[in-house]
């Protein structure tokens, strides 16, 4: 019996989608997206890739845990097809990610995780929609297990997890006893792409579904943080365009202008 890893994976509107796909619903204080397919949160994909590496090294198995209002089956299956052994899905009409703050999400996930006999929980360092980076550490706090964050490299050895955590100028090595939770940074590497055959076969991978009621969680959970407005970012500046007779002259003129304006 190897190590049992749970990977938490959120579904988000593709954060790399064109800026015009995002619109502010100022009356409802919500972000509305147009024509954007849901994708797996990129950082959670990094976490799954780490899990697949540990599974191969330690003869483990992987449970995928996902929570949402109406989760995309193709997105789930594609992730499961990479080498996931079973999946837990928490779904309900009240589980729109924009109606849940980090505390509510962590409450739901930790309640589900109490039913699982895990050794290691891996999550992305943050979700690409809320950009909050709180849920992973919050889940660990609620479960009372040690957590290590912003990991780029993770190894499991003799009942311990050893990570390299990203720092601005390098990394710090830390370890914690299992069971533990680790949040994974993008430096850990991209998720492998499953074969078409594996994606087709993924629908046979065991899955359990829970509603919040099944978990005994009463909704809504009182918000600790409330969104009171959404708006397009304003990042525009007045650009001075430098143009010479040719690109070389443009480059030289740009250097001169930066000097006379005391930018350099």
């Amino acid at each position: 019996m190897g190590i049992h890893i749970v990977v938490c994976m959120k579904q988000v509107p593709d954060p790399e989608g064109p800026a015009a796909s995002f619109e502010a619903d100022t009356a409802g204080n919500r972000v509305v997206t147009h024509g954007l397919p849901p994708v797996a949160n990129p950082y959670d994909e990094n976490a799954l890739e780490v899990a697949l590496g540990i599974k191969a090294a330690c003869d483990g198995n992987i449970t995928l845990l996902s929570l949402g209002k109406s989760l995309s089956r193709p997105v789930l299956l594609k992730a499961m097809a990479t080498g996931v052994d079973d999946a837990i899905v928490i779904e309900g009409d009240s589980l729109d990610p924009q109606d849940l703050d980090s505390h509510a999400t962590a409450t739901l996930l930790s309640t589900a995780l109490r039913r699982v006999d895990f050794d290691l929980i891996l999550v992305g360092r943050q979700a690409a929609d809320t950009n909050a980076g709180q849920v992973g550490l919050g889940v660990a706090q609620m479960l009372g297990i040690p957590a290590l964050s912003l990991a780029r490299n993770i190894e499991v050895d003799g009942g311990k997890v050893l990570v390299e955590s990203v720092l601005p100028d390098g990394f710090v090595r830390m370890s914690a006893p299992l069971p533990a939770l680790v949040t994974v940074s993008h430096e850990a590497g991209e998720l492998r792409y499953p074969s078409l055959a594996a994606i087709k076969a993924a629908k046979n991978i065991p899955q359990v579904s829970y509603s919040p009621g099944d978990l005994g969680v009463e909704l809504p959970i009182g918000a600790m943080v409330a969104r009171i407005a959404v708006a397009m970012p304003s990042r525009e500046r007045r650009c001075q365009v430098i143009s010479g007779e040719n690109p070389e002259e443009t480059g030289e003129m740009l250097a001169d202008r930066l000097y006379t304006d005391k930018v350099i």
């Binding site: 988000v12 509107p13 954060p15 790399e16 800026a19 995002f22 502010a24 972000v31 950082y43 505390h103 690409a128 929609d129 950009n131 909050a132 980076g133 709180q134 919050g138 706090q141 040690p146 964050s149 912003l150 050893l162 720092l167 601005p168 100028d169 390098g170 990394f171 710090v172 090595r173 830390m174 914690a176 993008h186 430096e187 600790m224 943080v225 409330a226 969104r227 009171i228 407005a229 959404v230 708006a231 397009m232 970012p233 990042r235 500046r237 007045r238 650009c239 001075q240 430098i242 040719n246 690109p247 443009t250 480059g251 740009l254 250097a255 001169d256 930066l258 000097y259 930018v263 350099i264």
Partner: protein
């Protein structure tokens, strides 16, 4: 909210010596928030040999500085630092606690928020507050930087992590506040911090005064040496948008953007970068932004102070030569 507010700054040092620049900026925000209600400005600093940093916090306007000075605090250990703050903060409630959106802030504040049951907003690039009765509103990027959300914290105490350049450091003046020494708590020993490794290639993008970044339009890894040549004139660093990192032209650690490093140097060169939301939301707080791009319609020009339209292969060498002439004489 009525009565005076207590504003607490979680201070960070540069390797236990002086305060980080971001911490001095937080003192500016903290002073402003506290002054709205004639509240108190409190700072907490932990480390080894950080008494000088405590004096600096007094000179920046702290009424009280809590100092935890111990070898065990020399490097950050999540459990020891969390124990320190959960020991200190309950008697300070209700408070508004500000920390930098740094690796330590990103790790410690969620733990603290969940331990205390306080609401937390991370990665703030704006804090708004009007009159004394007005709750502070925290503004942050969401959805890959494509949108900004304004958030209010509903719990009596609030915590926020704040980016560089959101606040302005106050002028230093002789301090009149008090210093209170704290005992460091014992670690419960679950997490071991083994060692810190500085990488020879690992430049500190977050604290670099000048960044020269390349994008998809670089076309390959070769041009990144030329970016470095320009960066080195300023002791600066090379960054990249996401596509060069995905393609392996630049290390993932150098990625600038909401899915990489969030930077705000004095001067940012965006070379062959189109200006996606996810990149802009990682660097738009920079002092001056200079864009070089072949496409005059590229969005980056809208977000830049200076723009040069042209092939970087021809513009950059001339720019670098010109900069050398001016900077090095």
């Amino acid at each position: 909210m009525s009565g005076s507010e207590r504003v607490i700054i979680f201070a960070e040092t540069e390797d236990n010596v002086g305060l980080s620049k971001l911490t001095t900026e937080l003192m500016g925000i903290g002073g402003w928030l506290a002054s709205r209600t004639a509240g108190r400005l409190v700072a907490v600093v932990a480390g080894e040999g950080v008494v000088g940093a405590a004096d600096q916090l007094l000179s920046l306007g702290a009424d009280t500085v809590f100092v935890a000075d111990h070898p065990a605090l020399s490097t950050y250990n999540p459990e020891i630092y969390l124990g320190l703050l959960t020991g200190l903060l309950p008697e300070q409630e209700p408070f508004t606690l500000l920390a930098g959106h740094t690796p330590v802030g990103q790790d410690l504040m969620p733990r603290l928020a969940f331990a205390l049951g306080a609401g937390l907003v991370t990665d703030c690039c704006g804090i708004q507050a009007e009159g004394p009765g007005q709750e502070p509103v925290f503004v942050k990027p969401v959805f890959g930087g494509n949108m900004m959300a304004s958030l209010e914290v509903e719990t009596p105490s609030r915590i926020a992590t704040v980016r560089s350049r959101v606040g302005t450091a106050p002028a230093a003046a002789p301090g009149t506040g008090e210093v209170v020494m704290l005992e460091p708590p014992a670690a419960d020993g679950r997490i071991d911090v083994l060692d810190k490794v500085e990488e020879s290639m690992g430049v500190n993008l977050e604290s670099c005064p000048v960044i020269v970044a390349g994008g998809r339009g670089m076309g390959g890894p070769e041009g990144f040496d030329q970016l470095e040549e320009l960066a080195l004139i300023f002791d600066g660093a090379v960054g990249a948008s996401r596509p060069p990192c995905d393609s392996g032209w630049a290390p993932a650690a150098n990625q600038v953007g909401i899915t990489g490093k969030i930077v705000a140097p004095d001067l940012y060169f965006a070379v062959a970068i189109s200006g996606s939301s996810q990149h802009l939301s990682g660097m738009s707080e920079s002092g001056k932004i200079v864009a070089i791009n072949q496409d005059p319609e590229a969005y980056i020009f809208k977000a830049a102070d200076y723009g040069a339209v042209g092939d970087w292969r021809r513009v950059l060498p001339a720019l670098t030569a010109g900069v050398k002439k001016h900077v090095q004489g």
